[in-house]
Symmetry: none
Subunit: 191 residues, 4 copies
DNA sequence: TAATAACCGAGACGGTACGTCGCGTCTTAGG
DNA sequence: CCTAAGACGCGACGTACCGTCTCGGTTATTA
């Protein structure tokens, strides 16, 4: 347990995460730099580079740190209720400050493949997995017709959600969540 | 017509656009810089800055230059046929080199609001408008139930398309296009 | 005269030279850094690197700037007078602040061959050349025996001078200069 | 003998000295760093810092370790023979690898006063002392005129030697040694 | 036989400079 | 008024070393 050598400083780690979040909130993602993070956290640059490969990685860890459950899995036994709840939480949780964060991470994921992979599998895929499980349970209960691709249905929702985030084609409010809920329910409903 | 002074050099303009495209294709978007564009185009930096505010703007103009129509509007008089054709073209047109370009522009649009606005209204919104018009014509023909929000349906498709581009959740092939087509048709179809 | 492009800033150049000198005088050579020079001169690092390859190069140019003639060539027509004058000036000119500068440059010349070459040919060799010329003139007048290697005699003096600078084996004062003068005169004098 | 606690590791000490010598020989003095020494010696940095204050100190100790006597004192009873032998050995011993080492140490001595003092008194002064003693013995035998400053004569030789090392003004070969020998003999010889 | 004390390696820490790159602006000569 | 050329201040990049520190472990002397 813990070989030789000075152990990693928890204080430095949390100072870095906090600094990154603060800079992004205050000044926006393009202003965020490894240099700036180190400066604000009163930490050496080397320490930041030792533990994170990029500013996006810092931010992703900070995001996963605080926001453990943006959208936990509801389970009332009724598809319509569960789905509506999940979509509402997911939608409303992707607004404001969080929206700016998500959008920046998605952008960075496109520009830097190494981070892209970790973002896609470590964040996006996990969010989809939650919804797929929700649908899967409903299917077990016989609420969903057998010819529907649950993965695809899940992509329809997250696609619409992210599209609004990225394309600015509309607001992310309860009405949006409920509209999508109704459409998806119609698609998956047993005849 | 054309005030005093030396007129704008067409050679410089096209050299810049070509250089930008080449750099992106060869080395990826993050390597693209205003400095590099000017160097490759054998043009002074000042000239680039005079006519384009950012590297993304150069790239967007280059994209609009070559790619006339990714997905022109089909009109056979039958919703199913038109929709299927449009989705197939849109999907297949967003692969390979074009995919890399689109993805980079979307990323840049998130990071730099000024470019983001021009990208959202000048590119994304226009693509949606084409599809909405397609659906609108079908509604006029009575093929679409009246309680469906055509804008939202359009977002479902482009959302899924962009989500696959950005999240890498699946391939963009004819099967994908047809699956979405079937789902959307079920959603909008008259009882 | 002066092709295209913005001309080099004289203000920046002299600010850099001045800053380098000041830092060395105040804090010593090891404290001198390219970064520090740029900071103090209120000039970008790039500008420093554009014109000088190293901090030693900056310092050498600064030295050659101010101290045009540390030891100009005396010419009275008498070897003893000329030599004594030259050695005195050379010796007394290598004290105090100048000593610290010379010593640092010599050290740097050993550590970085590229600078070493420019220092040896651009500074040291020129000082020797002056003294050799002095002796040469005396030889023309018949004051120096023919079997003496004037280059070697010159090295004897500069060797002793530099040795005292570097090894701290004694002071650099008029007495030292005169002692060496006497010895050298004895060596070169006609029988 | 030797208080409590683990005794100093001889293995670590010699590994450090060897590593320092190897690095300097292979890559030159500027590449030598405390960090690199520790790495190569497979020793912790702390251990290096515990026993040596600087890389120059390591090197000086390594130099004194291996090189017992560069120029031991000859004593044939004849000034000319002794002087010629001493100058030859001193000159030829300051070439090749040793030259690089000497030059680096001299440079470092200029840059870091603490090391400078130990180098001047612990190395340079001792070399001069040997030669002064040689001359002193000759004076006792009546071979040297009484008005000559033996310290100064010694500086003439070492000055010329070091000057050639540092200024690259000529080669260090037997011819050089013999030329200087002749000149010095002429200077000190009884009328 | 324990306690104590100085050593050892590993390695993280806050700093600071390195030399390079791109930013967006500017100043020149010339078409 | 445009163009190419290119210098400018600025600031981030990612790396290297600095000298210090904090670990777990190792060897000796002393109690």
């Amino acid at each position: 347990m813990g070989g030789p050598g000075r152990p990693r400083s928890k204080a430095a780690r949390s100072a870095v995460l906090r600094a990154a979040l603060e800079i992004v909130q205050e000044s926006g993602y393009p202003v965020l730099t490894m240099e700036g993070i180190a400066r604000r956290a009163a930490v050496s640059k080397q320490t930041v580079y030792r533990w994170w490969p990029s500013k996006a990685a810092v931010l992703l860890e900070a995001l996963n740190e605080g926001a453990t459950e943006i959208a936990p899995l509801p389970d009332t036994g009724d598809l319509a209720d569960d789905l509506r709840a999940f979509l509402r939480r997911s939608t409303l949780g992707a607004r404001g400050r969080t929206a700016r964060l998500l959008v920046a991470l998605m952008a960075e994921a496109q520009l830097y493949p190494a981070f892209g992979r970790s973002f896609q599998t470590g964040f996006l895929a996990q969010r989809r997995a939650v919804m797929v499980e929700l649908l899967q349970r409903a299917r077990t209960r016989g609420e969903i017709r057998s010819d529907v691709d649950l993965e695809l249905v899940t992509e329809l929702f997250f696609g619409a959600l992210w599209y609004r985030l990225l394309a600015g084609s509309g607001t992310l409010d309860r009405r949006f969540a409920d509209q999508i809920t109704d459409l998806l329910l119609r698609l998956v409903a047993e005849a």
